[in-house]
Symmetry: C2
Subunit: 194 residues, 2 copies
């Protein structure tokens, strides 16, 4: 069974979207990654409409089987958090209209899943996403990399036996080891908490 997950890093100015496929016992693969941008001088409702229409187009084209979304907290970034929450409302609605469940994950859950370290910085997350998906370079901008990290986090949490079958290691650890075996160099080596 292949799970196709759409990850969304919500934002009014830049909304990251990333889609991955994960089949049991196989490595995750990149399907699509990008950013939906809206002009800051446009009326709020027009900006949300652009994001809603782009999300609909992406869901129509790629038919994800699940959606992963960053859980927004009111405590952070008071200036932008309301816009971010409004975008997340639009994402949740677009998913529900297709009968898709939405998994909400906190930034530290996503970081821990992808790098093994809940306080990893954006560069480490992007570098690890590139490794896991065997990309030539980290996805840019950071919102796009974060969207892929969300999708990976959700896919790994959702598949009971994880990639590589049932083991005592976490998917992040397995991915890390696989990446180590592949012998690739990374500019920002993520840490593993044990």
């Amino acid at each position: 069974m292949t799970v196709r997950v759409l990850g969304v890093d919500p934002g009014l100015t830049r909304c990251g979207v990333g889609i991955i496929d994960l089949a049991q016992g196989r490595a995750a693969t990149l399907v699509e990654v990008g950013v939906i941008r809206t002009p800051p001088d446009l009326a709020l409702e027009r900006r949300l409409l652009i994001i809603g229409e782009q999300l609909d187009a992406i869901m129509n084209e790629f038919s994800p089987s699940a959606v992963a979304l960053e859980r927004v907290f009111a405590q952070h970034n008071l200036r932008t958090v309301m816009g971010t929450a409004q975008v997340s409302g639009v994402v949740l609605l677009a998913a529900a209209r297709r009968g898709l469940a939405v998994g909400l994950h906190t930034p530290s859950e996503v970081k821990a899943a992808v790098t093994g370290y809940g306080s990893a910085d954006k560069k480490q997350v992007a570098a690890m996403v590139a490794r896991i998906l065997r990309l030539d370079a980290p996805p840019e901008p950071a919102d796009a990399a974060d969207a892929l990290a969300l999708a990976l986090c959700h896919a790994w949490r959702g598949i009971p036996s994880g990639i590589g079958g049932a083991t005592s290691t976490t998917p992040a650890q397995q991915a890390w080891r696989a990446a180590e075996r592949s012998g690739r160099k990374s500019e920002a080596a993520p840490r593993l908490d044990t």
Copy 2:
């Protein structure tokens, strides 16, 4: 010219909706008032879907010419504010899909418009709404009364020579809005950057 305004007091558990008609030189009249409720044990995306579908049905039935929405602040009610903001995203999207502009008003702007006093309590607002719309009793629950108060606030602010002859939009604001309306067709197609 009659303006029909849909006011929405956003909330996940109770979302107040109220529609009023206001014709130049005439008293405001009640068209519809009610509350959209969603069960707290339902998944967030399902709750937003119910609200989105109910709003669509209301807009289809009553064809408002404008939408008024409470401006949500991250500073208040930290526990519920994210859900409220997500609902407001759904309201903004529903309006934009119909080409309707949305007026955002703070609670104190609404209280001041309806009662003349920016710190009025909910009971005073409901009583004044009943008086203005010549209702036998204050609308209940408070979310329904607040939605009507929002609609009244927006109608009075938006009609150049509104009730009482006073106007709160400047000629510059009116010119700006006209320009915005005529400029919609020339909006550049949104890009999906990769």
